[in-house]
Every structure is written in C-alpha cells, then in structure tokens.
Symmetry: C2
Subunit: 594 residues, 2 copies
Amino acid sequence: MLRTHDCGSLTTGHIGETVTLNGWVQTRRDLGGVLFIDLRDRSGIVQIVFNPAYSGDALAIADKVRSEYVLSVTGKVVKRDEETINPNLATGEIEVHITEIEVLNTAKTPPFFVEDGIEVDESLRLKYRYLDLRRPEMQKTLMLRSKASKIFRDFLDENGFVDVETPILTKSSPEGARDYLVPSRVHSGEFFALPQSPQLYKQLLMVSGLERYYQIARCFRDEDLRADRQPEFTQVDIETSFLDRDTLLNMMEQLMVKLFKETIGVELETPFQRITYQEAMGKYGSDKPDLRFGLELVEMNDIVASSGVKVFASVIEKGGEVKCLNAKGCGTWSRKDIDDLGPYAARYGAKGLAWIQVKDGEFKGPIVKFFTEQEIEAVRERTGAEDGDLLLFSADNKKVVADVLGALRLKIGRDLGLIDDNVFKFAWVTDFPLLSYDEEAKRYVAEHHPFTRPNDEDLELFDTDPLKMRAQAYDIVLNGYEVGGGSMRIYKREVQEKMFDALGMTPELAREKFGYLLDAFEYGTPPHGGIAFGLDRLVMLLAGRSNLRETIAFPKTASATDLLMDAPSPVDPSQLDQLHIKLAKKPEDNKVKA
Amino acid sequence: MLRTHDCGSLTTGHIGETVTLNGWVQTRRDLGGVLFIDLRDRSGIVQIVFNPAYSGDALAIADKVRSEYVLSVTGKVVKRDEETINPNLATGEIEVHITEIEVLNTAKTPPFFVEDGIEVDESLRLKYRYLDLRRPEMQKTLMLRSKASKIFRDFLDENGFVDVETPILTKSSPEGARDYLVPSRVHSGEFFALPQSPQLYKQLLMVSGLERYYQIARCFRDEDLRADRQPEFTQVDIETSFLDRDTLLNMMEQLMVKLFKETIGVELETPFQRITYQEAMGKYGSDKPDLRFGLELVEMNDIVASSGVKVFASVIEKGGEVKCLNAKGCGTWSRKDIDDLGPYAARYGAKGLAWIQVKDGEFKGPIVKFFTEQEIEAVRERTGAEDGDLLLFSADNKKVVADVLGALRLKIGRDLGLIDDNVFKFAWVTDFPLLSYDEEAKRYVAEHHPFTRPNDEDLELFDTDPLKMRAQAYDIVLNGYEVGGGSMRIYKREVQEKMFDALGMTPELAREKFGYLLDAFEYGTPPHGGIAFGLDRLVMLLAGRSNLRETIAFPKTASATDLLMDAPSPVDPSQLDQLHIKLAKKPEDNKVKA
C-alpha cells in the first residue's frame, strides 16, 4: 500500500478522505479495547485509531505492534471530539480511523527513546546513529542543512558560478595542517593526500578562465580534535576572477541574507559591519568578536604608565599594554564573585586581575590608592565608569591582554544577559596581518595561507618589516564564530616567489612543491580571490545547536572514530602488501582505543 | 576597471554603448597600424580594435600584448563595416573601439593553442590542465556538468529528497572492489577506507526514517584502470523508503526527461523500454544493449541441433548454444571482409565464426552443404534472411556466444551506419540474477551487491537453486552504456543473514563486518530501495564526448596519476612515523612511474 499522505500533513481539510499512511509507531495506548497509536514519519505525527466498531481484523494485528514498528495503514480522516483535541500537535484536531493495516517490519525496544531532548550518553547515540537520527530534532537539522546547501547553490548558480568538483586524491602540501595520507598501490612508496581545502585547484580554475567557481567541498585535517572540529568537514568554496574585494563581499552579504531569510526567516541588515583586525583585537580582544553587545576594551597605557601601580608601569615599560574592561553594573559583586574571575582569567594567561569598583561616586579596591586624583578622573572619563560599575584591568603583552579581556568580556556579557540569542550579528574582519613569526620554527608563517595577496601599499615591506604587512584577507564573523574567510590571491609569479621566500622556502623547495602554480602564473593568470564558508558551523548556528556533531549525519568522535561502523579498523595484511607498506608495530602493541 | 559586459554577450543592441571587458588575448593582427585583437572570456570572443584615430596611448600598450595576456579594456561598441562582418562569431556584427587598456597580466607562449579540436598528446594537456581548460570545448563541458548537477538537485529537491553528506573516511568492506586505505594516526595499526559508494550509509538513513535521500557523492575504487574508469568518480546517489520499484523507476524517468531537455534540448519519450536481463542477453548479447538499432540475435539450437554441422551439434550436446546474427545487407562483403571478422570475434572468445551469404535467393558458404533443405528454410524464416544478407553464427557456451555476437552486432551496426548519434535511447534492464558463481573463490558472489533484495517469489531458491534467483535490481542503459543502476534492498534481518550465508560468510564474519547493519534491521527498518547514476558518464554522453577524462576538471591518468600536481608523491618519513607505518621497500627499489 503506497502512502497517499504524509502523517504530519493531515488537517481538518482532509476530513472524510480515505488515506494511506506509512510510518513508525511512536506510542501506543489501549483505552478499553480501543487502540490509539501515534504514527510518525518525517513530516510529523498523527493519531490513528483502531476500534472494534470499524477496524475489523486490523485491530487484532494492531494489538501486537510495539514502539518503532513500521506500519502501512489505511483509514478515514475524522474530526476529533472537542475534548480530545491536542493543541500541541499540528494534526491535533483530527485522527484517522483505520480499516486496514500491514506490519512492514517489527522492532526491538530501542536503547533510548526516539524523541527530542533525550539525555543519553553521546557515544550511545553515535553507536545507534540510525535511531538517533529518527528523532525529530535531528531530522529537522539534516533537512535544514540540505536546504541551506540548496540555497547556497541556487544563489551561486544565479550569479554565474560554475560547480566544479576537484580531486579528493591529491598531493601532500608542506604548509598547513597535518594531511591524511593514502598509499598508492600503483606507485610504490608514494602517497596521495586528502585535501585540506581545494585552494590550489580553485586558483588553477581561475587560471583556466572559468571566472566564477564554487563547490560544496569535503575537506580533511588530521588534527587533534576539539569540540568544534571534525576530521572531515564541509566548506562552501568560492572563487572569482576580475572582481574587487568589496564587490565580492557585498555579493556574499546578499548570499547570507538569502540563506537566513529562507531557512529561519531572519532578515539580516546589510551592509555588514566592517572592522579591521587591529580594531577587533583592540576593542574586543578577538578576531571573531561577538558584536551583539558592547563592553568594549579600553586602552589605558597613556593614563597609567606613570601611575603608582608598579605592575602597570613595568609592563608598559617592557612594551606591553594595560587595558580595561568596564563590566557595567557589576560593581555590586561581592569580593568572592570578583575573586572567582581570577582563575577564569588565568586560563587565558592572566597572571593577575586588577579591579576597581565604583560605589557612591567613588573608586574602591586595592589599587585605587596608587592612583592620583587626575588619574582617577582620566580613568573615569575613558571608561565611562559610573556608580555600580566594575573596572577590570589586564596588564601583559598584547596577546595575553586580548585573550584575557576578550574572554572576560564574553563571560560577563553572557552572565549579565547582554547576549540576545535571537540576534544574528554579522561582521567582516579585514586587514589581517600577512605573516606571523613562529618562535618554534624560527621563521615567518602565513597567517591566512601562502597564496594571500598583501595589501598593494605594503609590498615593499617584504624587504624591511614583513610583520607589518597586511593581507587582503577577510573573515566573516557571526555572533563570535568565524563562519567563513578568504582573501584576494597573489596572481603574479614574482609576488608569489617573494612570499615563498619570506616563508623560508628555498627557490628549489618552492619549485618542488608548487612548481605547477608558479608555472601557471606565467600563462596569463587573472586577478582573483575568493572565500570559503564553514557549512557545518553555519548550520549549527542556524539550527541553534552548540555542537558541530549535531549537524553531521555520521560524525566522528573527538578521537576520530566512527562508533557506528567501528572505523578505523584493522585490515587484512594482504591489503597492506598490495600498498607496499607495513605496520611500524604490531597493532596490539600500541593500540590506543579512545 | 570592473567589467560591465561579457565578451560573448555583445550584440548590435549594444551599439553606441561604452563597455568595459576583461579577458584573454586569443589572436592579434596588425593591419597597417590598426590593431585587431580577439578578446576571449568564458562567454565567447569579441573583436576589439586599437586605432590611432581614437585609442590614444592605449595603442602603444596594446602593441606589446601577445596571446593569452589578460586585459581590461574600455571602449565603444560599433557596428562593423558590411564587408568585415564575421558570420561565424556570435558577436561578429560588432566590434569595440578601445580607448583605455590595462594589462592585468602577461603570458608566455602556451605549449599548445588555446582553441577547440587541438591534436595534442593528452599527457601534455593534463600537465597544463589549467591551459587545456581554457579551451572553449572544455569550458562548455564543465559548465554542462555543473548544469546537469543542478538539474539533478532541483528535481530531487522538488520531490522531497534530502541532500545528506556521508563520510569519506569510512570502513573497509570485505565485498566489492579494492579499497583505498587511510592509516589512522590516533589508532595505531588501524585504517579508514574511502567509500566505494555510500551504499550502507544511505540504507542506514532509510532506517533513520529520512525516507528520501540523495547525494552527489564521490566514490573510490582502487582498480586497474580502463579508459572509462577513474580512481575517484561521482555518482548521483538516491534512496527512498516506502516506494515500490515501478514508482521509483517512473520518477527517475522524469528526472532523465528534465535532464536531457534542460541541458541539450532533447525530448525523451517515456516510458523507457523495460527489458529483462534474460531478454537483453538473448536478443543483444549484452546487459547494456544499444537499442538505437535492431540486428537482434536469433536462437538456433532447435534448428541446428541435428544438422550436419558437427560443431553446432556438439556444442548443443554439451549444454552450449548456437545463435545467429543476420547482418542485413552484408551479403555482398568479400571473402576477405568476412574473414576479417574472425580475429575481431576471437577477442571476445570466439574459436571460429560460421557464416552464410544469401545471394540470388540462395544460401552460400562453407557450412551450407551440411544443412538439409528444411533446415535452410527454417533458418531463413527464423532470421528473416533475404538477398544480400550475411548470417553469422556463434556456437559456444552462453557467455561466449553473447559476448561474440553482442560485439559483432555493435561493430556491424556502426559499420553499416545504423547508429544515429542524435538519438538517445534509454532502457531499463531488470531481473538480474541475484548471484553468480566465482570459480576462483569457489563460492557465490553477489551480482549487484549483498544488500539487493531477491524477487519475493524466488526466496525459497536460497536453499535449492541459488543461481536461479533473480534480484529486484535494475540498470538504466543509454545507447549501450550503463548510466545507472540500483535495486530494492533487503530490509529483514533473516533475509540479509540468508544472503550473507549464501555468500559463504560465517555468522561470525557477517557479524564482524556488518553487525551494525544486522542490528539496524531489528529496530524497524522500512522497505527501501534506490539507484545511483554515474554522473561522469552521463555528462560524457550529454556532451557527445567519448572519454570520461574530458568531463572531469582534474582527472587522473590510466596509471592513477595526477600529472598536474604530480601526485601521488613521496612524503616526509616523519609523516609515516606519525601514522605508525613503514614502507615495505625503499621507494627507489620499486618505483613504477608510469
């Protein structure tokens, strides 16, 4: 019996119709010989009723069904009695009086309830993912993800972007994160690598004159996993030729507008705020600031450099900085509340946390006595301190101050309820540094990647002050999450060579690793640039979830394991022989099951 | 200067407008101090003109440009003089008189011409793929592929299919082709495998109640490559619950109708012909018959079993068969033409090839004398032999007869010009055998895959005559190519266990390899089935190409090498240490560069 309707689609408009439904038994209640079953399919739930008055043989069959049995049923849609109407159910005004039933399959009792909001160990959910995904909230997230992908594709297609698939079996790159490797059977001793992104392929497509490319691309990083990382993840990968940065960013804003409107009905305001990396770090202590609330950090160096607070003066003397966060309204916190911030700040590198409470117009706290009256007034003016405020000071090198006060700003913003979960506040962070210095490797490394174009006016700094160089790179930030990023790319061979040189690559190594790219740059490469959006994270934010695994049908655990299929797993030795590799040790010697 | 128009979009409707164009120099001609450049972008070509009369400084700059330079130019669209109109160019009625030029990048002379129809060694094209893809025919194919993907997605989305991404890092499977393996860094001695298809994941999504799934999925097979294989390929992967076979196939026909109409403007007729595997093998000697022409094979056993042709009689006695192909109109072939068929047939296993020519109403040829008059009449009637026909006979076991006459049918159909390249003839091949017997492994193997549902009425044959069992499997065939295939799946644990048992898997091994699937079948699995289309091959046929590599942006060679990036390649020994593997030999010992 093929279904005629979806369970969740039935309304009072269907009353009197005979319908066939397919679905799973959600619940089953026997009320004095009349059987009520909530039947579930992906569209929702409807109540079906088996009654001796009209169900005939079907009742006896239905009597044997249990939770998660799969049924095909036929019956008539009927209005419920007033007193049995269920206002919590979309189909709550009707029920279906069944005359025919077929049990398509039986079911054992599942290891957890197939319903939203269960509190079950995640590893059990992952092992039985096929049951976990039956839960409506998981199905809704998967459908939201599918819809989001479709919206990306529709928008990009309408704007002339060509969907091109690039290889998964590709070449190991010396820059970037750790690669997943794939031994070659044909070429003994050689390996493919799974791509960390299609970066070089998409640039080569621009050299090919394709002009506008996109791909919803699987990417791979063999990194130690954090809560918001997966070994394989998905990015919406975009590249274009001949566009300038602002034209591209404006187009991407329209893409986000469409995405948020058509998935969750939110109207985004454009243009998105644009903020330089310098400003973001200065005001928010973060390159992915949550702009849903204020609590901006305030620079204090000029005011406190000559104050009596020894630690301030000495930090400044050593080239560090002192900044203040005015925790509005936290002036009433107890000494213990304030002290509790110390260990939190320490996690971000703080060696201590100086503070001032403002009470009855006066500054209070251990450090106040070291300030002059003028200094206090200057602090008051700079921070806008008022009665009931709490001023928090961090004094250290730039990075630690940003980390500490950036983290405190978020914590206090949350604690004070300043963050509205229904607000989606996008921003572009621009003008990132081109390079940073890796103390361990004793060389410069690319902040974005080695193919990022420097700001035109900074090019001469390659030879004089590389750390001062800014990149034509941009991140798109939403509510404190980086949801995408990109850059204009280098498209002249001599600039790319300068960049490789700055990264400490000899011309020979650059040639060995990226010869094809340097060659390509000599055959008429157009100016180009692009962006990639993290699809997993965007879907997470759209769905209001807090974990990437909730947005992925079959995710891996934090130890990169697929608990459902039990992968990775040992393989037959003959498979390794064919691949010309051996295990370094016997598996049992160093198996690290986690 | 941002472009205002695409090169190929300019028409007489733009005359008088000032436009800015970006593109590549296709050709450059200097006619008495006036410079004509064909400027190319992905939309097409337009002629731009630099003339001292209006170009000012731009002329001197333009004078230095060469093929494949990247330009940005601004000028006025002007109607060409009547005598210079180029009817071969979409923009041939106009030209652009340039007043401003910027050279965005220079170019060396490319290793081959950037134009259609070049005859260049394919390895050179693959090494410089970024130039090869600049050629209009390659760009058109990539754009066609993008469009085809979009049409698949639009259709499936409209029909309620949810796009779900399944893992690339998954588990090695004991059935099927050879897996690509990925060593795990976290779990020493263990490996992921790249998926040969998302088969089990999509079935688990049906267990999850997702009801309709699709994915344009990358798949991997580490097989020795033939011309029409790639180590990674793309399939449009589809699965649905609660539908019966015919409803699914009808829906897929509508999908093909939309695809062919919207890409190449071809109106397909539905319903597609449906033909059983038995009939396809019988009439066409192939399970992927080219139905654009007739030349059906004819069974001869009953007629020739008692004839004087010894080889016929003895083959039939041994359980083999004799079949005939009436090569209409080839009766005039010379003896040499006919003899030349012998070595061709031998490639498909023929030990010899008997034949009869029909001339002036009479049968001629070496075997005719062994036939009685009645037998000749019976042959004439059965084969419809007429004057000018050539009857070709194959006598051997069933497989060889099918291979030989199937191949001859295709060759003769081509030679006789019976095949219309503009016709797209789809068919469904159904009722495949469930199992075949692998002589080497001495066990049954699944013809489709081990999850294919047997025909309901054949279930009892598991215990009596497994080779007689037919599967609820279907291939979709187009012009002699298999462009897709699928099946209804087993959804009851006991049937799946019977199937594993028939394949010689012990319950323990089945449990170890597919325990999660057997478990899943116990928790309310709906009836389900699906199909997968080979996207590469479909695009190849849509684009009228004869090689899968022409449809893939960055394909691999027949020895599974990426010539552009030079992958696979040796990796740093420290990378192998981290993955707990060693090379079986030093790379230089057995490097097999091809």
